[in-house]
Amino acid sequence: MLSFLTRRLLQLVPTLFFVSLIIFSLQQLLPGDPALVMAGEERDPEVIEQIRKQYRLDQPLPVQYVYWVKGVVSGDLGESMRIKVKVLDLVTEKFPVTLQLAMMAMLIALSIGITAGVLAAVLKDSIWDYAANVFALWGRSTPTFWLGIMMIFLFSVELGWLPASGYVRAADDFWGSMASTIMPAFVLGNVGAAVLMRHTRGAMLDALNSDYVRTARAKGLFERTVVLKHAMRNALTPVITLGALELGELLSGAVLTEQIFSIPGFGKLIVDSVFNRDYAVVQGVVLVTATVYIMLNLLADVAYVLVNPRLRS
């Protein structure tokens, strides 16, 4: 286990290096003089000079990169051009909001995805299996932002049950918070549910056709025991680790969902920063999401090895 962990951590080094290279290179894509572009409408020579100094634009690229990485490692992700707040502070402020949304979405995705997947596999070729497959196809093909708009139309405009937008912190008003996040969480979890359903169904079908399930049946166990204890336990292991990766996808999907429902999280931060030409914030958000995603990947791998004794050696 220890050697696996060391190997896995060592693998992270080049990945993180390339991630940092990609994010650093983003600013090279800016057309024209980056200092001028980053300064935005403010053409104050002092501001431009400050940007030049902050990003060391007068230095050669590799030097700029080294300074940038040094800053990042010590937690200095730069400062927002627009509101003069440290990027790290902005990110830590917005992150819990998105995390709450992602967690709720995950819960929805797991409960729908696994239930539908298991049912579809056990009742293969029945109307339920067919319905679950249609649901998965629908989930993969519906743009989240359209689903969000349609839900606002139905539940907020027509029925008036839920607020159309805005966010209430759970600490301030728990039920208000739930009401403000249930629609976006469902929209966000919908795609994940479709993905998880397909994988659960596939894994369950494999498990149900396996020798150990045949043995369990031959022993005369109840079908329910066979399905719940023998097949499901084995089938769900890869699905759970897949769930961890889906969480990363949810962070990505939050970009659109938060925009539609005006939820002040991570996704809205990156979009707002894009339009404010607040490039340091954009880079910061990309960096933090990538880091979270890499960590989730690592956790998923570790969990996979932990529950799979065969892989441990």
Binding site: P14, T15, L16, F17, F18, V19, L21, I22, I23, L26, Q27, L29, L30, P31, D125, N133, L137, W138, R140, S141, T142, P143, F145, W146, I149, M150, I152, F153, V157, G202, L205, G248, E249, L251, S252, G253, V255, L256, Q259, I260, I270, V271, V274, F275, Y279, V282, Q283, V285, V286, T289, A290, Y293, I294, N297
Partner: protein
């Protein structure tokens, strides 16, 4: 969706010797879902190509006397907040969506497949560098990377396509690399090498044609994802710029008029859904046709 498995098996046994590609095509044609998808894709392609003939109205012509009019004989899908005909905008919007889907996946294939071939066949240090680079790109969630790229490149349809193309590339690198590694040790590759073919010839003539099926499946699914991504970027204002019509930006405008003009939100969404669904169905159908294990 198992209606095909048995008859397909039967004619594999009884029929005369036919090529695997022919057999896959036969299986594909029998899949109703895939054929429905193909039909819808062709329909939208026709709409995109013949848009000026079919739209009946100028998609960018504003009319202050026809602001937010409900669907009627004159405006089949109604009009938007500045009185433009939504039907015409949907038809012209098909151009942006299909173009974005095809071009960004073409970019991803053009960069990803060669890199994957090199990484898989040559191996060694080159493989390590390419693979770690791929890992890094896959570590940044798709839409976040696409948004960041589109933001730094500047908002336009062209840049959105580049952003989506680049973001889709690592999937093809990884897939190609894996497939090459899998067939590299097959006898026919060994044989091709043994008779003295140069490496590029082994890769392009002997390996590439044999790994096309999974690439084709992934391409179809990636087009679906790219169309959603283009609509998403346009929805955020990072894709097609106004007044040019795009389904995504139409939805953005629609969001502000949900109470007074809900039809503005319905049609662009239906169009995106149908197109994406079709490419997904086609991709699923291709996968089952190439790999007819019972699912």
């Amino acid at each position: 969706m198992t209606d095909v498995a048995l008859p397909a098996l039967a004619d594999e046994v009884a029929g005369p010797a036919i090529s695997p590609a022919r057999r896959a095509l036969r299986r594909l044609v029998r899949r109703r879902g895939a054929m429905f998808g193909l039909a819808v894709i062709l329909l939208f392609a026709a709409l995109a190509i013949f848009a000026p003939l079919l739209a009946m109205q100028d998609p960018t012509a504003q009319s202050w006397t026809a602001v937010r009019k409900a669907p009627s004989a004159l405006h089949l899908f109604g009009t938007d907040d500045v009185g433009r005909d939504i039907f015409a905008r949907i038809i012209f919007g098909a151009r942006a969506s299909l173009l974005a889907g095809l071009i960004s996946v073409a970019i991803a294939l053009a960069i990803g497949v060669p890199l994957g071939l090199v990484a898989g066949y040559v191996g060694g240090f080159l493989d390590s560098v390419i693979s770690r680079m791929t890992d890094a790109m896959l570590a940044i969630p798709f839409l976040i990377l696409a948004v960041a790229l589109a933001a730094f490149l500047g908002p336009s349809l062209r840049n959105a396509m580049i952003a989506i193309g680049v973001t889709t590339t690592p999937i093809f690198v990884r897939l190609t690399r894996g497939q090459v590694m899998a067939v590299k040790t097959e006898d026919y590759v060994e044989a091709a090498r043994a008779v003295g073919n140069p490496p590029w010839r082994v890769v392009l003539v002997h390996i590439l044609p044999n790994i096309l099926p999974p690439l084709l499946v992934q391409a179809s699914l990636s087009i679906a994802a790219a169309i959603i991504a283009e609509a998403a970027l346009s929805f955020l204002g990072l894709g097609q710029q106004p007044p040019a019509p795009s389904w995504g930006s139409m939805l953005n405008a629609a969001q502000r008029f949900l109470v007074s003009a809900p039809w503005m939100a319905i049609w662009p969404g239906v169009a995106i859904f149908l197109t994406v669904l079709s490419f997904n169905l086609l991709g699923d159908g291709l996968r089952d046709a190439f790999d007819p294990r019972e699912r």
